[in-house]
Amino acid sequence: MPEDPRLMLLLALADDELILGHRHSEWTGWAPHIEEDLAFSSIAQDEMAHARLLYRLAHESGLSNRDEDALALGREPQEYVNAWLCERPNRDWGYTLARQYLYDTADAVRLEVLAESSWQELAELVKVMQLEEKYHLDHARQWFSKLADGPAEGRQRFSDGLSAAIGEAMALFEPLPHEDQLVAEGLMPRSNEQLLAEWLGRLGEELEAASLDFVLTRHGATAEMVPTSSGDMPAPGEDLMVPGLSRRDGRWVHEGGFTGAGGRRGRHSEDFLPLWEEMTGLYRAHPGAKW
């Protein structure tokens, strides 16, 4: 793991954007219709560009002797510090849209705060990114309203996607190693735990307004199904709650650990290695190539 907290911060942001950008790009040529093909291809292009800006800042500010290409494509799997949410396969269209909504609303919260960073170069980059992320948020919110109000199957598949993604989405705010120092110096004006509280507050309101807040209490994706006389039913017990999430005084709050913890320390799910092999294959096969 990077020793310097500033490098840690840049890599966490950049790796999230790069890896999710890679997943989005897998829709190129395959999305359900051409507008969405263009949408996901464009969002992927934006996210990868944002990753590049952050890697370049890491290199140009002397935090890493590796340039942007080497940081993006030349690291070993355990050196990537993205959250697990970003590396998960696209699964179906419902999961893809649910993840994009969760990621981009969470990203908006952290970018708002980083735009006020005491690190001027970072704050400037974040302001450039925010103007482009606005279109990603619009896309996510349009689909959110369409699916929340839409026919039963679409609503069901979207809520399944939210259920599956929500736990790991919270881990986007898993504290960074040496985060205290970043907060003390104003590089990160607020801690990840504070950002998570802010995001959960907003998310809870949006889900409640759409009567989708049941995804916060029912963890459809991991609840074990057990056969009963009424058919397969989710097993009772703690599996029914999203781990790490509680409701206190009418607000959703983080309590306990994280699902998919360890991303920020270079630990990954089983889905990361195949992605890494494909993403970095050309770079590894032709070291130093220019294109």
């Binding site: 219709h33 507008e35 969405e36 263009l38 949408a39 291809s41 464009s42 969002i43 292009q45 934006d46 990868m48 560009a49 944002h50 590049r52 800006l53 400037e124 980059l125 302001k127 450039v128 990114m129 103007l131 482009e132 279109y135 619009d138 896309h139 349009q142 689909w143 309203s145 369409k146």
Partner: protein, 176 residues
């Protein structure tokens, strides 16, 4: 420092040279009309040109930078050059000059924010509802248009449909 007049003249010549450079994805518009050229600084032995990217992921950035460098080189062959994209401030679509907007319109791409009008617009193909500005049709001038997608063939363009002349068209995305 060079004498002020001389520096100013050279700066003018550099600006003139840059106004001949096009964004390959927006061929009718020079980079000066797109508002990409942020700063030209001429000193005794060097020229610095700072450019702002329209979108950070624009694949034409390297081409624009190389073309701009060659153009400046031609008018200031004896000086050291540094032509680069900077991110110290975001490019916004209000940087496009009136001439640039005219060139976009003639090319068939509606300039950003043109024909802004409130109201809910139904997007036929994606079947998503959207409350947003519409864009004037660059072909027939109609306001009766819908945005089909905020995304298009390049990062800086969105796709639309004109219900009057029934043509699909593109608009330059408002930014900022």
């Amino acid at each position: 420092m060079k004498g002020t007049a001389e520096a100013t003249t050279l700066e003018g010549a550099i600006w003139e040279a840059l106004s001949g450079i096009r964004d390959p994805e927006i061929p009718p518009c020079s980079i000066t009309d797109l508002g990409i050229v942020e700063r030209i600084q001429v000193t005794d032995d060097a020229v610095e040109v700072d450019l702002l990217p329209t979108f950070a992921g624009c694949p034409a950035l390297d081409v624009i930078r190389d073309d701009a460098e060659a153009a400046v080189q031609a008018v200031a062959p004896s000086l050291q050059l540094r032509v680069r994209f900077v991110y110290s401030k975001p490019w916004t679509s209000d940087r496009i000059t009136p001439e640039g907007r005219r060139a976009l319109r003639e090319y068939g791409v509606t300039p950003p924010g043109e024909g802004a009008r409130g109201g809910t617009v139904v997007i036929p193909l994606a079947a998503l509802e959207r409350t947003s500005r519409t864009s004037l049709c660059p072909f027939c001038g109609s306001e009766d248009t819908v945005m089909e997608s905020a995304f298009g063939p390049t990062l800086c363009r969105s796709t639309h449909f004109c219900r009057s002349c029934r043509n699909p068209f593109e608009a330059f995305k408002p930014k900022g």
